[in-house]
Symmetry: C2
Amino acid sequence: MNSKSFNPPTRILMGPGPSDVSTRVLEAMARPTIGHLDPVFISMMDEIKQLLQYAFQTTNELTFAVSAPGMAGMECCFANLVEEGDKVIICKNGFFGERMKENVERFGGIPIMVDDEWGKKVDLNKAEEALKNNPDAKVLAFVHAETSTGALSDPESLTKLAHEYDCLSIVDTVTGLAGVPLKVDEWNIDAIYSGTQKCLSASPGLSPISFSKAAQEKIKNRSSKVKSWFLDLNLIMSYWEGEGGRSYHHTAPINALYGLHEALLILKEIGIENSWNKHMENHLMLREGLESLGISYLVDKEDRLPQLNSIFIPDGVDDLASRQKLLNDFNLEIGAGLGVLAGKIWRIGLMGSSSTKSNINHCLESIRKVI
Amino acid sequence: MNSKSFNPPTRILMGPGPSDVSTRVLEAMARPTIGHLDPVFISMMDEIKQLLQYAFQTTNELTFAVSAPGMAGMECCFANLVEEGDKVIICKNGFFGERMKENVERFGGIPIMVDDEWGKKVDLNKAEEALKNNPDAKVLAFVHAETSTGALSDPESLTKLAHEYDCLSIVDTVTGLAGVPLKVDEWNIDAIYSGTQKCLSASPGLSPISFSKAAQEKIKNRSSKVKSWFLDLNLIMSYWEGEGGRSYHHTAPINALYGLHEALLILKEIGIENSWNKHMENHLMLREGLESLGISYLVDKEDRLPQLNSIFIPDGVDDLASRQKLLNDFNLEIGAGLGVLAGKIWRIGLMGSSSTKSNINHCLESIRKVI
């Protein structure tokens, strides 16, 4: 093999994630590695916790970053909150609802599926019907911002429903966090996970996560051990919030956490509401440009995620060849369709550092040339 | 909170890991993030696979880096190779054998413990007795290089024994890889995992892992689904070695993988045998210095890991105060004792980039001043 250092090409990342990582975050990741039990490192971990609380708009004590990508965040929620035989209602309106089902099954739970069409938001009436029909259900799970379709659902109303029927809520906001309004405390969300490579624009590899007091209680009072040692929150809690010095659980991904710290600082500097607004403004600019190219959206106007624009591939346009041309001739990465939408849609991300007017202009002009 | 970028202090990392990360690896991690499905990124993943095969001395097809720290590598092995009711013999001679037990239990297996004293290597006779007494056992698991004690065991003989009794072997070489001889193919090891932050001197967060054909067969023929979606090798295989384009499983930790790629290139440039020899040479130099300070080792001379030196804290020396002084006055991190050895030993790492003559001199001189 050709043993050379890896020098990635310049790309503009406008797919469903990763998004562009800023120089500030890249430089932070390149700072010297120190020990994961070094008091200076532990102070930084405390700052990350506070910054994540800000991003999630929560005071939840159990707020931290799982040391693995977003899918491990999903698994962490289900592994800890589901026990053998527990019924979990999953509102599925895309690819990631299916993953939730897999998670529930692997931890011995019983998934009750509530299907919505891909591209639609989660239907509150259907969710309520399932809750009514399953009075013994323990959890209601759904995706806030469906990365496979670009549809936005309503965690506030869904969590309210869940609580009316004595369920906890598990919310996937991998693509949502910092891109659309999210108020974990105000909306009383019980368990929520995200990723770093979407609207936070850090490198992938960590999963921000937060649990309400009710969720923590449930985890502490499990009748069986969590079916994962690495993701067992009873153990992780003692590492992140141990008193009298942290006990060793696993070696944290030190440099990745430097990067997340910097990305969260940038978010704090911008301000969370300004970040939400920026994503919406840029979405409107992209939408106008796409419409003027005669391109239409998969998702109804009022349910669209500003940070993830799912558009129908124009008639007669070759999906793969066009995306390859965008990548090779214009250094532009956009996303393909997933699952049932493969070959039918493209997904254009406007997430975090990728969400700029110059990127939008470049994207529109490049698409105009390839279609 | 004080919202400032994080600037770590200068440290010399001579604990049980992380070890010092070289400028080359740090710089690699700071290169621009590209997409995890970008053809250029996928080529780099292929190179990482080849470089890991070199490091492990194997041609195993299923060789890759789990997208999470070493403890997730452990969990990946047990989650995939253990099914409900499977007996697993665990030779425990330190902290990490106990973790293996936790893993087996959480996946529904039955751990058969073979205890050796902390600081001793795994006893072959005891292992054989357990294999004889448990003819229905499926797996023999042990630690090659015990990070908690600095003891080196013999994976070749232990794997040979396992195979004589129709068991697969699971080997923890988190601290072993690149620091002591390891020949996965020649020794017929079935499943082995490591970490990036020890003798490879990349940042923590990934777990190199490799499986023999026999292990792969067992995983493919499981009668139940793996109790983890994130670590299910049947799914991960299709991402790492999928033909006709990789299918999406999870977003890889892109920049961390840049760093691992560079660290593995450095190892290839040095040469694996030279790396083993370097660790031994530097160990002998450190040992001589420590002995001249009147300090003695926990582990018998012939079973010592060169890259991890466990020494008794001299009488009358305050453990915590001395380590704090080393850190604050000499920027030197060494490791505390874990578990039953807490307060009794120190662990001095000479791993990868930390294993240099100047570090050894600095370490000896600093210890001389604090004791």
